[in-house]
């Protein structure tokens, strides 16, 4: 591979506290050789060709902590190849895949298969999560230690929640012993039973069973109480409500834990569901505008650490039915960055902060050397025109499933190029 020189870029690398106009040099081995303002036209060899980025942005490749891939079992929804192409088009170079597949990622032998498929078919970095319980049944723990040795970076039941408190406490103790990351989807099943949308005026008007915000809070409250005794690495996959944020604010200084939020909950609210738009049937559900604003405030107050796409590809057939029958989730990995940039453009959050939540923070929680532009690290990065306007069109979606929840939305910010290990794998 030839050396690559990029000059005159706005470089943001929260991991190394870089936020400056400068350049980036990629070595022949695909590693970061030099980065920052000291890289300019004057100190690169004059015979070398360089690319002038004219002030466009360079971010570390995004790390998306919550991605569903259909492989194995649901390849018709998304496979590693299509996921990888969708991710690259959105500047995402590392993903944590959820274990909700068929078969479930709950034992050592399936992990071997997964890693092989991920390596052969995917151009991005795949970090598979395994399930907390066998077959996602919420009764018996999986082999955290052995799975970790096979390269599993975290444990979660994905769309499911551990309901049994005793089991949860045992999971935490094991995770504590083995230094494993636990990621919990917070939802009390009894309170959310048959629920489809936020419990409130919208559920009342649409005549749909509601999911109260308390069903999320009560699980977080329980888990944080358990954590007081055994402080394992614990991550709340997604928060959606002001009530949860308030609780996190109370506990953040006492206990170590981290929190994620879906870009959907940051960008949309329950009113967007309109006339039964099944593509906006999400988990956690879209909540009120007050809830959405509280999530943004929480980001600015350092109460939320990570923004995820919660990319959940579903085929048309699972969405072209009545709201109560429709599948939950939206495809979103390729719009994660531009939708997040909307929060910058409308003045809600500073750009540096947003990039931190998309790159260095998730990498730190996962303990992986990704999401940074450190010298010697793999050159995973993207070049972004953060002001470029465009409109989301279903037919232009790269992912195999087109269930975007922001069809026809006007966005600002487009990924121009994406690199993994120094290799240009996506170009607009």
């Amino acid at each position: 591979m030839k050396k690559k020189y990029f000059l005159n870029a706005n470089i943001i690398d929260p991991h190394n506290s870089i936020d400056e106009l400068g350049g980036l040099i990629i070595s022949e081995e695909g590693k970061i050789e030099a980065v920052g303002k000291k890289v300019n036209k004057n100190n690169i060899p004059s015979r070398e060709k360089f690319i002038d980025l004219n002030g466009k942005h360079i971010f570390p490749g995004l790390v998306d902590m919550r991605v569903f891939v259909g492989e194995p079992g649901y390849e018709y929804k998304e496979n590693f190849r299509t996921l990888s192409n969708a991710a690259l088009s959105g500047g995402v170079t590392s993903v944590v895949t959820m274990p909700n597949t068929d078969p479930v990622i709950d034992n050592v032998s399936i992990v071997d298969f997964l890693k092989r498929r991920g390596r052969d078919k995917s151009k991005i970095n795949i970090f598979p999560a395994a399930s907390l319980t066998k077959n996602l049944e919420g009764t018996n723990m999986t082999e955290f230690g052995l799975l970790k040795k096979k390269g599993i970076i975290g444990f979660t039941d994905g769309t499911k929640t551990i309901q049994n408190t005793r089991l949860m406490s045992r999971i935490m103790k094991s995770a504590y012993d083995l230094d494993c990351l636990i990621m919990q989807h917070a939802e009390d099943y009894e309170l959310s039973k048959n629920g489809m949308v936020n419990d409130g005026i919208v559920s009342t008007k649409l005549g749909l069973q509601g999911i109260p915000d308390i069903s999320e809070k009560i699980i977080i409250e329980r888990d944080l109480s358990l954590l007081e005794d055994f402080n394992c690495r614990y991550h709340i996959s997604q928060v959606s409500s002001a009530k949860s944020v308030e609780l996190i604010n109370q506990k953040k200084n006492e206990i170590n834990f981290t929190t994620g939020v879906s870009i959907n909950n940051l960008s949309l609210n329950e009113n967007d569901i309109g006339d039964f738009k099944t593509f906006l049937k999400l988990s956690p559900p879209l909540r009120t505008e007050d809830d959405r604003l509280s999530l943004i405030k929480a980001i600015n107050n350092d109460l939320i650490d990570v923004i995820v796409s919660d990319h959940k590809p579903e085929d048309e057939e699972s969405k072209r039915i009545t709201f109560s029958q429709a599948a939950t989730g939206a495809s979103g990995i390729e719009t994660l960055l531009p939708l997040t940039l909307e929060l910058f453009h409308n003045g809600s959050v500073k750009l540096f902060k947003l990039i931190e939540l998309l790159t260095s923070n998730p990498a730190k929680i996962l303990k992986i050397d990704k999401g940074n532009l450190s010298i010697g690290s793999d050159a995973d990065f993207c070049i972004v025109d953060i002001f470029k306007p465009w409109i989301v069109k279903k037919e232009k979606i790269v992912s195999k499933s087109k269930n975007t929840c922001i069809e026809d939305k006007k966005l600002q910010g487009l990924t121009m190029k994406t690199f993994v290990k120094g290799e240009e794998l996506f170009k607009i």
Partner: protein
């Protein structure tokens, strides 16, 4: 009796819910229905304004009164009425609502009447077919013709709706009738009280512009109309109430409780009734107070009006 083919204009293509209607739409339907009341009482009940039109009744949920009411309404107007028996249809074999809709659409119906257990099913259907769709009840969301016939019954007895105080009592949570009535009665200027145990009250319902009560005596105090709803035990997945007898004690309509309403208060019920659970059986049959039978009678007239208006 002046029933002609005169052109009437409605602002919507489909009747999916009261929420979508304007006040002039409502008045149009109610005025049309008034003319059909007389027709339905006459000897020759059949006219031919819908001759050559095809009406399909698509009932995914069991229904006696609404289905027969729509069927009769269509037949009295001269339409060809087909009632689909869902139990034997392809839907049971896994066909989706949209596929069913496309199949039926290919047969060129002029109107489809649908009842479905899922809220919003009629909205989905209306996006996929060319003809008009009439909602005969979708999940918990709306049952517009029921609200219209209730309004017609009230107007028939009280000559107005504006300024009346109306209590809707019972299982509000699972009730599409309650929701449609709230929209319609509010639109027509009534004051609406909602009376239910808190467990059967949908979240934030007061934002629809109603007063809520969990005490029956207070809720029906000084009311002109007491509308009782059926306790929908079949939709209750977990414990909402301790027992039917306790419910009757606190929320069942008895002469004693009714004494808190106005002296000339009328009792309504969309049926079918659970006698001795939400309503005292004698009260239900009291011809001086109960207008339950009239509701059924006027239901046919309202549905004839809707079929006529939305077929055009």
């Amino acid at each position: 009796m002046a029933i002609t083919k005169k052109a009437v204009k409605i602002s919507k293509k489909h009747l999916l819910g009261i929420q979508d209607l304007s006040i002039s739409d409502v008045n149009l339907i109610l005025n049309e229905a008034k003319e059909f009341i007389l027709l339905n009482k006459s000897k020759n009940k059949k006219i031919d304004i819908l001759r050559g039109k095809t009406q399909i009744n698509l009932f995914f949920e069991p229904s006696t009164r609404t289905q027969s009411s729509f069927e009769l309404a269509g037949k009295r107007l001269g339409a060809d009425v087909m009632s689909m028996n869902i139990v034997n249809s392809a839907i049971k074999k896994g066909e989706t609502l949209i596929d069913t809709a496309m199949t039926l659409n290919a047969m060129h119906p002029d109107i489809i009447v649908i009842r479905h257990q899922d809220s919003g099913a009629c909205n989905l259907l209306s996006q996929k077919v060319n003809c008009a769709v009439l909602n005969a009840g979708d999940g918990r969301r709306e049952h517009p013709t029921q609200a219209l016939l209730d309004a017609l019954t009230i107007i028939d007895r009280k000559n107005k709706i504006e300024g009346l105080k109306i209590a809707i009592c019972g299982d509000i949570l699972h009730s599409r009738v309650a929701r449609s009535n709230i929209y319609l009665l509010n639109m027509l200027g009534a004051e609406v009280n909602i009376v239910a145990p808190t467990n059967l009250l949908p979240k934030d319902i007061e934002k629809l512009g109603v007063n809520t009560f969990s005490n029956m005596e207070k809720g029906i105090k000084e009311c002109d109309i007491v509308m009782m709803l059926r306790l929908q035990n079949e939709r209750m997945t977990s414990s909402f109430l301790s027992s039917n007898r306790e419910y009757y004690e606190y929320f069942g309509l008895t002469p004693d409780k009714l004494s808190h309403a106005k002296k000339d208060a009328l009792i309504m019920h969309p049926g079918p009734m659970n006698r001795g659970i939400e309503i005292d059986t004698k009260l239900a049959d009291d011809i001086n107070k109960s207008v339950i039978k009239e509701q059924v009678e006027l239901g046919v007239a309202v549905r004839m009006a809707c079929l006529k208006i939305f077929c055009e």
